[in-house]
Amino acid sequence: MPTAKRASRTNANDSCKKITDLIFNYLTDRLTPPVRTEFERHLRICPDCVNFLNTYKKTVSLSGSLGTREIPRNVRRTVLAFLRQKMHRIVVLFFSLLAQTTA
């Protein structure tokens, strides 16, 4: 679990599992300096964790590059027409109620 509390218990004999748990906080710069040093020390001796980290980062960057689509014109038109109609009904209802109370 990527929490700072857990991160603070990390020591020099980190296993790959612990490193994997810390990736989230490492990439968002939330590890304490000693934990980060140990994390990076592990990376220097473990090609598997380096490769794992690279593929994790690639996954995140791919998610971010999915991009946004424009709202289709017909959808925009339909939704705005729906909202205007609903608002218009409320105004009509308000004035009819007002007319009734003042009559």
Binding site: M1, P2, T3, S15, C16, K17, K18, T20, D21, I23, F24, N25, Y26, L27, T28, D29, F39, E40, L43, R44, I45, C46, P47, D48, C49, V50, N51, F52, L53, N54, T55, Y56, K57, K58, T59, V60, S61, L62, S63, G64, S65, L66, T68, R69, E70, I71, P72, V75, R76, T78, V79, L80, F82, L83, R84, K86, M87
Partner: protein, 236 residues
């Protein structure tokens, strides 16, 4: 010649320093975020005040400002165009009706994201349930001593762009995203696509920041594993 360490290995970005490696997840800096938030907060406060006074044009202003973002969020969660249109319709109508109750404890955008995610998740719950994929199958596995169970772990991050066209990669990722639990998918969308902070996501999906981080990390591990399997490698 001294022995090469893992970080000095010739493959991929292994020669990068850890500090450089860490900088992969680029989100706006805190200062930029604060500046943007102040500016948008001023605009939002004015719009909400107009909505509270039944200013109908204000709703169209909110629509112009946020409909694209909200449409994309709903579309990604739902996958169905018709459902997305109805969700967006409901969200903006709710905004108009409930603006009077908006106290400004959160940003307008957070409220809008919350309405959208809740509406989309509600529809997912009511629709036919898809068989849920077991996350375990795509999460990394470790030996009892904590080391990777399947070794070597393959770094496919460099070769992905060479082997596949952008559209194919997006299709692979889209397939993996669709296998996520709807709430986790929403969190990934809000974080990695919309760039919301963990705190903003926490306010949007009504979970603690810690729960958001845990779900986000697990969902990313799942996506990574799913991609690895689709590319012919082990998820571990």
């Amino acid at each position: 010649m001294p022995a090469m360490t893992a970080l000095e290995a010739p493959r991929s970005r292994a020669s990068m320093s850890p500090a450089v490696m860490r900088k992969a997840i680029v989100k706006p800096s805190d200062a930029t975020r604060v500046r943007r938030r102040r500016k948008s907060a001023q605009t939002d406060t004015a719009i909400v005040e107009r909505l509270k006074n039944d200013d109908q044009e204000a709703l169209e202003t909110v629509f112009d400002l946020y409909s694209k973002k909200l449409y994309n969020v709903a579309q990604r969660i739902l996958g169905e165009a018709a459902d997305t249109e109805e969700v967006i319709q409901d969200v903006f109508w709710t905004v108009y009706r409930k603006a009077k109750f908006f106290k400004g404890d959160s940003q307008l955008s957070t409220w809008l994201y919350r309405l959208t995610v809740n509406a989309a998740l509600g529809r997912v719950r009511r629709s036919k349930k898809k068989k849920e994929v077991e996350y375990e199958e795509f999460l990394p596995k470790f030996q009892e001593d904590g080391h990777h169970r399947v070794r070597p772990v393959v770094d496919w991050s460099d070769t992905l762009d060479e082997k596949y066209a952008q559209r194919e990669i997006q299709a692979l990722l889209g397939k993996a995203l669709d296998q996520l639990k709807p709430l986790d998918k929403s969190i990934i969308i809000l974080s990695d696509l919309e760039g919301l902070s963990d705190k903003e996501i926490s306010a949007t999906v009504s979970l603690t920041v810690s729960a958001v981080k845990t779900r986000l990390h697990r969902a990313r591990l799942f996506l990574r594993g799913h991609l690895a399997v689709q590319l012919g490698h082990s998820a571990a």
